[in-house]
């Protein structure tokens, strides 16, 4: 299968290891990965902050980058950005009266999957250890991000994948379904409430004794990781793609800059 990677702006700029890990997983399964170079961002920051007009060119760019590329399905290591592509893009196009863009956005949205959704529903991954060689000998807890859980209805797909990683010690996170308080510009506009929500989330994470908290959205993980760092906690965050890509031979680093090698680079 030819799979187009939508890296998402935050992963592209801040967490390239997550995108590299996604490439690695897909190549290990024997698929070809392409990266439509025109891509930038899904635009949900603009939409969710009320800047609909400013969101239009961002959405138009995403649609152009992905409907001109030749691929079977597109994937992003983020529930939130995929939810934006699927649900917000047609609405943004409608808001500016561009019916052609709306139709193209709907078509791109229909072909776009969140990583765990693609792995489980399309590529049939049920055992990460056996099918991907995933190995991660650490105590981990997992935060299911709101948009993956409530907008994409990912259910337990991410948790099932994590449980099937060899060596992992998956600790259940108390109040896992509660929002971490990120909410994009909410974290700045309502910084006090956001911080109060984050404090409860990090306390729950620390209560598990896990070395790190994983999840499917880099933005929530940056928020949670930023809170843990400020509290001086030893616990940190790591995207689930990096845990799935981690192997006995090339383990993912829990902290620091160690790069996960992709299938291509290791050959």
């Amino acid at each position: 299968m030819r799979i187009a990677l939508f890296a998402t702006c935050i992963v592209d700029a801040m967490y390239p290891r997550t995108a590299q890990a996604t490439v690695s997983i897909l190549e290990r399964l024997g698929h070809e990965v392409v990266f439509p170079a025109g891509q930038a961002c899904c635009g949900q920051m603009h939409v969710n902050s009320g800047y609909l007009k400013e969101a239009v060119p961002v959405v138009a760019n995403h649609v152009a980058a992905f409907d001109s590329a030749d691929y079977d399905v597109a994937v992003a290591p983020s529930g939130s950005c995929v939810a934006s592509v699927k649900h917000q893009h047609p609405m943004v196009a409608r808001s500016c009266g561009d019916t052609a863009l709306e139709a193209r956005a709907t078509a791109v949205g229909a072909k776009t999957y969140e990583l765990s959704e693609l792995l489980v529903d399309v590529l049939g991954v049920t055992d990460a250890a056996a099918q991907l060689g995933s190995y991660f000998p650490h105590r981990v807890t997992y935060h299911p991000s709101c948009h993956g859980m409530r907008l994409l209805r990912l259910g337990d797909r991410q948790a099932r994948l994590l449980r099937s990683v060899a060596g992992i010690d998956l600790a259940e996170l108390p109040e896992a379904d509660q929002c971490c308080g990120f909410g994009g510009t909410f974290s700045m506009k309502n910084a006090d409430v956001s911080s109060a929500m984050l404090a409860d989330k990090t306390a729950n994470i620390r209560s598990t004794g896990a070395a790190l908290c994983t999840g499917g959205d880099a933005s929530c993980l940056m928020h949670i990781g930023g809170g843990l760092s400020r509290e001086g906690s030893a616990a940190t965050t790591l995207h689930l793609a990096e845990i799935l890509a981690s192997t006995l031979e090339a383990p993912a680093s829990v902290t620091g800059d160690v790069r996960v090698t992709t299938g291509k680079a290791s050959r």
Partner: protein, 511 residues
Amino acid sequence: MSTFLGMPSLPVFGSGNLHAAESFPKAAHRELGNAQLRANLGHATHTIRDKRLQVVSELPDWEQLRDAGSAIKENVMARLPELLEQFEANFTARGGVIHWARDADEANAIVAGLIRDTGETEVVKVKSMATQEIGLNEYLEEQGIAAFETDLAELIVQLDHDKPSHILVPAIHKNRTQIRDIFLREMPDADPELTDSPAVLAMAARAHLRRKFLTAKVAVSGANFALADSGTLAVVESEGNGRMCLTLPETLITVMGVEKLLPGWRDLEVFMQLLPRSSTGERMNPYTSLWTGVTEGDGPRNVHLVLLDNGRSAALADEMGRSALHCIRCSACMNVCPVYERTGGHAYGSTYPGPIGAILSPLLTGIEAEENSSLPYASSLCGACYDACPVKINIPDILVHLRSKDVDSKRGTKKLPSQMDVGMKAASWALSSGKRLGLVEKGLPLGRLAAGPDKKISKLPGIAAGWTQSRDIPAPPPESFRSWWAREHGNPNDGVVPPQETATQGKEGQA
């Protein structure tokens, strides 16, 4: 010279207790500092949350019931003028009197006039959101009429000269020790040995209220539902105090928002399943009172209904926002909201707090009224409210819609654009082209430098200071994914189809 006033120009926005007097972040900051409030609210919301989940999971057709509730309400909103007239005809035919009120002032004046006509100066009240919304108690007090709340929690709040902080559990912000202290201080007939046991407190309130029920000649209520096909009104409650007010006095005055209408009895069945489970987490509420006009020798002899608009027509005119009028005031959304759980209801200013309040208040008043434009931002858009709503109001989508209404209403009105305006414009430029984002990402090593040896950024200026008040930002990577990919794979794998194949797709395809 005569002046032709003509039809009022639309929209007529709502007035009364629908406004945030200070911005939500400011009010939230103060409320967050109240540790007792946080503890009370955390305990109460989690208890109701769990109860609701349990009783909802018992019904195999819960999702279909939600769909039905949503569809019935959508139908009502589409046929509102016709249904209101049908209701008026039936209610009047059965001996009731209808009054139409455009806003809070009109409704208050009508109610005060009706009470004055009876010669009474005291009324008992059934718990009602509509009368809270219009500020009826305060208005009546100015007119020399004392209104006594008879719902236990409303009574607590009223005795404490406080405001409700939750639509179903108005005293959710108080625990039983605080309630005992209020009773001892404010209830002249309270036993000085009063303990804080819930049963003892309830008995004290019961004894206090019984005297009011037996002497009151006038009652004021709200209504949960109105059935157009028979002209029937319905009140759903737990304590039975409502039943007392609805049956004992001679005059009954009901104030109801026009959106409470249902076409008929068959529709009520759906809501009688949705409401108790969503609000108190009960399979069935203890008391459902239904009345149709006047019945000789049984109940009140003078039955009035004030039909209240107060911004509802304006909300109905908002295509994206109108489904907020489907709300049946169950409070499930606030019980699951992580923001409400931490700030409590007072932070929202309006009678309607929580997620539904964050959309309903600005829809009723207009987004530009006082500080109501700050309300749609009081959410992380986690979506828990939408999942819990028994009539499937897409609260997150309406929040986003109202945010864009706010941003648009301010475009061109400011002398200087805000930091957020400037940031969003710049981000729109950078994020609408892969090439431009790639250029910006060339600056990542600079951010890395700024982060220093501990590899984190802990203090940022301006609006970003909100982020760094409780979170660090990690040092950026030395290189973006985009740049790594180009190095590793070069151009062939960028997935772009050769130009001749995309000729029909426009020039964006070449980006």
